[in-house]
C-alpha cells in the first residue's frame, strides 16, 4: 500500500483564522489529541511562522517559545514542526532557540520565485541534524518550469522534501497535476502539496497531488486555516484510506481531534465565503482575508474589489500594507466618480 505522510497545519495555519490568538490550553489539548491519532508531523506557531508576530501581520497571543514549549510537552510520537520564512525568522534569534525547544522538522518557506533566500536556514537546520523541508508559497504564480528551478535550488541546499503551497487556493486539479507530476519526475526528494479551499478544491486538489506522485500532504482539522481554510484533515485521512493509500493515522482519534478544534478553538467553521472565493479567483494569499475585510469596512469599499486589485498587482504575503493602500485608492476613485 502506498504511503502518504500527512503534515498537520492546524496549530499554525489555523492561527490566521483566529488572528494568531491560540492559547496554551488549546495547543495542549489539540496536540495531545493529534499525537494520539498518530499524526506524523504537527506544526505549531504564528500563521506566518516563527518570528512573524508583529503589527504588520498580526501579534500572537503567545510568543514562539511558549507555543513550542507547550506543544513539545504534548507530543510523544508526532514530530514537532515549524514554518519559517527567512526575513521573519533569523537563525540566531529564532531558529537556534527553536531547536532548544525540541523542534524536529523545519519547513523553510519563500515566495515561489525566491528559493535562494532559504539556503542558510536549510543548511543550518541540516547541520543541527534536524529535518528540513523547502516550501514554495503562492506557487500558482509560477510555471512548473520555474517551480522546478526553485525546487532544485532547495534540493541543493539540503532540503529533504519540497512542498508547494496553493496559498491563495487558486488551483484547479489540472494545475496541480501539471506542477506536481513535473516536480516528481525531476527532483530526487519527495514532493508535497499544501491546499487551500478558496475555490472548494482543497480535497480534490490534494487527491490529484497524491495521484500525481506527491508523498506529503498538508491539512488542517476541520479545515482550520487561512481564507476558506485548508484541505480538511480528517477528510483527507478518510479519503486516502478509501483510495488505498496508507496514512498511519487512526481515523476515530483523528475525528476526536477535529471535534476539539470545532468546539474549543475555532470561532467559526471555515467555508467558501464570497471574500475567500474572490481571494482564490484573484490569486491573492488566503491569509489576507481578515485584513481585507477590515480595510473594506474601514474605508467603505467592496472587499472583492480590493482582492481583484491586489491580484492585479501580484501582491504576496508580507505586503499586507498594500491592502490599506489599495482600499484608499479605491475609495478615492469612488469619491471622484461621485463628485
Amino acid at each position: 500500500m502506498k504511503k502518504v505522510i500527512i503534515s498537520d497545519a492546524t496549530l499554525r495555519d489555523g492561527s490566521h483564522a483566529i488572528s494568531h490568538q491560540l492559547t496554551k490550553a488549546q495547543i495542549t489539548k489539540y496536540a495531545q489529541a493529534a499525537d494520539k491519532a498518530g499524526l506524523p508531523i504537527v506544526e505549531v506557531g504564528h500563521g506566518n511562522g516563527l518570528g512573524a508576530s508583529s503589527l504588520q501581520v498580526g501579534l500572537s497571543l503567545l510568543d514562539d517559545r511558549e507555543m513550542l514549549e507547550t506543544a513539545r510537552a504534548s507530543l510523544t510520537r508526532s514530530k514537532l514542526g515549524i514554518h519559517i520564512i527567512p526575513g521573519f525568522a533569523t537563525i540566531n534569534n529564532d531558529l537556534k532557540f527553536a531547536f532548544d525547544y525540541g523542534v524536529d522538522v523545519v519547513r523553510v518557506a519563500s515566495h515561489c520565485t525566491e528559493a535562494d533566500i532559504t539556503e542558510r536556514h536549510i543548511s543550518y537546520t541540516r547541520e543541527q541534524g534536524r529535518e528540513a523541508y523547502g516550501v514554495l508559497m503562492m506557487s500558482h504564480m509560477a510555471s512548473r518550469e520555474v517551480l522546478l528551478d526553485e525546487g532544485l535550488k532547495m534540493q541543493s541546499y539540503g532540503a529533504e522534501a519540497l512542498i508547494i503551497m496553493d496559498s491563495a487556493g487558486a488551483y484547479l486539479p489540472t494545475d496541480v497535476q501539471d506542477r506536481i507530476s513535473h516536480l516528481v519526475a525531476n527532483l530526487n526528494i519527495p514532493v508535497g502539496f499544501h491546499a487551500h479551499n478558496n475555490l472548494g478544491m482543497g480535497i480534490a486538489n490534494s487527491i490529484t497531488a497524491v495521484e500525481a506522485g506527491a508523498q506529503i500532504i498538508d491539512g488542517a482539522s476541520r479545515g482550520f486555516g487561512a481564507g476558506a481554510g485548508n484541505a480538511q484533515l480528517e477528510v483527507l485521512v478518510a479519503v486516502f484510506e478509501k483510495l488505498g493509500f496508507s496514512t498511519g493515522i487512526d481515523l476515530y482519534k483523528m475525528l476526536d481531534a477535529a471535534d476539539i478544534v470545532e468546539k474549543e478553538i475555532m470561532q467559526s467553521t471555515p467555508c467558501v465565503t464570497s471574500v475567500s472565493l474572490v481571494s482564490g479567483l484573484s490569486g491573492v494569499f488566503s491569509g489576507f482575508a481578515k485584513h481585507v475585510s477590515l480595510a473594506a469596512k474601514e474605508y467603505g469599499v467592496d472587499p472583492r474589489d480590493i482582492f481583484f486589485e491586489l491580484g492585479r498587482r501580484k501582491v504576496v504575503g508580507g505586503q499586507e500594507d498594500k491592502i490599506v493602500e489599495v482600499a484608499l485608492e479605491l475609495r478615492e476613485k469612488t469619491e471622484a466618480r461621485t463628485k
Binding site: 535562494d116 539556503e119 547541520e127 543541527q128 532544485l152 535550488k153 541543493s156 526528494i189 519527495p190
Partner: protein, 346 residues
C-alpha cells in the same frame, strides 16, 4: 592548528611517501603554482609536498593562490609559515602575475559547493570559465612551464548507468538546468583546455575528481557522507530519504594529493584522468559503517521515498595502467581516520 591534528595529517602523508618519492621525481627542485591553493585539494597537496621536502629533500616550492589567504594563515599556520610556501592573494578572474620560474601549474580554483552554484550561478560560471581562460592565457606565456593541470569534475559525465565511468564516456548533462551550472562550466573549461593545447601547444592535462572523505573536508556541505558523519558525531539518527541503494565511492585525500601531482607531472597533455576510488559502496552501507565506527547509538533510517539505483563510481584503469596509481586507503580505514580527525576537532 593543534599539533595532534597536524600529526594525523603528517602520518597519512608519510605513509604514502614511499610511492610519492618514486612517482613524483619530476617535482624535485621545481616551483609549483596552485590556484585555489588553500582549498581542500590544494591544502592536501601542500601537506604532501612539505612532507616530501622535510623527509626526502625534494626542495619543491609552492605558490598557493587564493582570494582569502588570511583565513588560511589562521586555519593552517603550520603550512602558511613555512619558507617553502608562498601565499598570494589574487582572484583568478583578474590577470595573474605568475613568476617566471614556475614549472608546474595546478588550476584548482572553484568551489565544489552545490549550494553556491545554484544561489550564485552567474558568478559560478564566470569564475570557472573566465578564471580558466585567464589561467590558461597566463600559463601560455610562461617560458619554463612543463605542465599545467586543470581540475574539472566527475560531474561532467552527468548521469551514467551502473558501469564504472571511464574517461572516454561522453557526458549526459542537461544543459538547460540550474544544476548543470557547475558541470557545464567545467565542460566548457575542459574544451577551452583542448583549444589551448591545440592552438598554443600548451601542455595541459585535465583531472576529473569524484568524491573524497577525510581531514580538511567541511561537514557543512550537503553531501550524503558529510551528513552521515555530522549526524553520527551529534548522536542523531542518520536519515536516508531514498532506498539507500545509490552507489558512490570515496577516496582518502592523501591518495587524492598523490594522484593530482602524478597526473600533473606524468599525464599526457591533451588527455583527461579520473581521480577517485573505483570501489563502489551503497549509501546504506556507508551510513552503517559510519555509525559503527563512530560508535553512534542512533539508527540509520531508510525512508524509501524514492527508487534510486544510480551509481557514480570512476573507472581507474587509465590511471592505474598509464600512471601506476592505485588506491592505498580503503573505505574502512578512510572512515576510521576521518572519525579520529573530526573527534579531535571537537
Amino acid at each position: 592548528m593543534r599539533s595532534h591534528l597536524t600529526d594525523l595529517i603528517r602520518r597519512d602523508c608519510e605513509e604514502i611517501c614511499p610511492s610519492a618519492v618514486t612517482l613524483l621525481q619530476e617535482i624535485k627542485n621545481q616551483k609549483l603554482y596552485i590556484t585555489g591553493g588553500t582549498g581542500f585539494v590544494g591544502t592536501w597537496i601542500a601537506e604532501l609536498v612539505t612532507c616530501l621536502n622535510d623527509k626526502h629533500g625534494f626542495n619543491t616550492g609552492l605558490v598557493l593562490v587564493a582570494r582569502d589567504t588570511d583565513s588560511f594563515r589562521e586555519r593552517a599556520p603550520h603550512i602558511a609559515s613555512r619558507k617553502d610556501i608562498q601565499l598570494v592573494s589574487a582572484d583568478v578572474r583578474r590577470t595573474l602575475e605568475i613568476p617566471d620560474d614556475v614549472s608546474y601549474l595546478l588550476h584548482l580554483a572553484a568551489s565544489p559547493d552545490n549550494r553556491q552554484h545554484v544561489s550564485n550561478p552567474i558568478v559560478t560560471m564566470e569564475t570557472i570559465t573566465g578564471g580558466t581562460g585567464n589561467v590558461l592565457d597566463s600559463a601560455s606565456k610562461l617560458a619554463s612551464l612543463k605542465k599545467i593541470l586543470v581540475a574539472s569534475s566527475g560531474q561532467v559525465y552527468g548521469k551514467q548507468g551502473n558501469a564504472k565511468i571511464s574517461e572516454n564516456m561522453p557526458g549526459t548533462l542537461n544543459s538547460n538546468s540550474i544544476t548543470s551550472v557547475y558541470p557545464e562550466a567545467k565542460r566548457y573549461a575542459e574544451t577551452l583546455c583542448c583549444a589551448y593545447w591545440s592552438s598554443c601547444k600548451l601542455p595541459v592535462v585535465i583531472a576529473r575528481p569524484f568524491s573524497f572523505i577525510g581531514p580538511y573536508q567541511g561537514l557543512d556541505k550537503p553531501w550524503a557522507i558529510n551528513n552521515f558523519i555530522r549526524d553520527a558525531l551529534m548522536d542523531n539518527p542518520v536519515r536516508i530519504i531514498g532506498n539507500g541503494m545509490p552507489v558512490r565511492s570515496y577516496m582518502y585525500p592523501s591518495d587524492m594529493a598523490l594522484w593530482f601531482l602524478r597526473i600533473l607531472t606524468s599525464g599526457t597533455a591533451g588527455l583527461a584522468y579520473n581521480v577517485g576510488s573505483p570501489s563502489g559502496i551503497s549509501l546504506k552501507d556507508v551510513a552503517e559503517k559510519v555509525m559503527q565506527y563512530f560508535g553512534a547509538a542512533a539508527d540509520v533510517i531508510i525512508k524509501n521515498m524514492n527508487d534510486d539505483f544510480s551509481a557514480f563510481v570512476p573507472d581507474d584503469t587509465f590511471c592505474r595502467e598509464s600512471l601506476n596509481l592505485s588506491v592505498t586507503v580503503p573505505i574502512d580505514t578512510a572512515l576510521r581516520r576521518s572519525l579520529e580527525w573530526y573527534r579531535s576537532l571537537e
